[in-house]
Amino acid sequence: MSDETTQKAPAASGPRSAGPGAGAPASGPAGAPGGRKFFRRKKVCKFCTEKIDAISYRDVNLLKQFVAERGKIVPRRLTGVCTTHQRRLTRAIKQARNIALLPFAVKY
């Protein structure tokens, strides 16, 4: 039992120390969705870099980039969008869905 705990402790602190050391955001080991231990390269928020302020429900082409094939909203760990913009994006997508510019669900 003690062996298990001692082995686990260094393993957990390993990637954590490598995280800030490499300078990547803390989404490295914590954001490993499929169980990947090494980190993804830093993904930037498209809205922050291009300085797009207003995300309107009307520009369907922009919104379509953040919607999956089945019509579901893509999580921000896959698209790299920052939290504020993801929230605005979600709101816009839901408004667009209500006005039939985007589908709620696409049948396969």
Binding site: D53, A54, Y57, R58, Q95, R97, N98, I99, A100, L101, L102, P103, F104
Partner: protein, 139 residues
Amino acid sequence: MQRFYEVMFIVRPDVQDEDLDKLIASFEATVTNGGGAVRSTEKLGRRKLAYLVRKFSEGNYVLLTIDADGALVSELERRLRVTEQVIKFITVRMDEEQKRLDKIKAIRATRRKVSSEPAAAAPLAEAPEAPAEHAQASA
């Protein structure tokens, strides 16, 4: 308290153009009679809907931007709901968003001004300031 709203509604595809114009005019009249102001009207044309709405797969999209107060918006929505030709509508409040955007633009404008003066003013300002500071520091 006039607030700024965007109202988008979809009209059935089988109405004629003049009927569509009449409909839009009647909604605009509702707004102006109720004490609001119509900022703009845009007809976005016939589009394919993302899903079937009342068995239609296409619709005429119309966008109205208005200045109105809450009671007028409820009245407008009631009329939209009652009108048989309108199959879907959405009202979005835009004034807070507009305030935020204006604020960002104002910040950007001031930032640009400060950074675009530099060609002549800043180096000149910095040059006399620097020796002056050095003089003061040494003294």
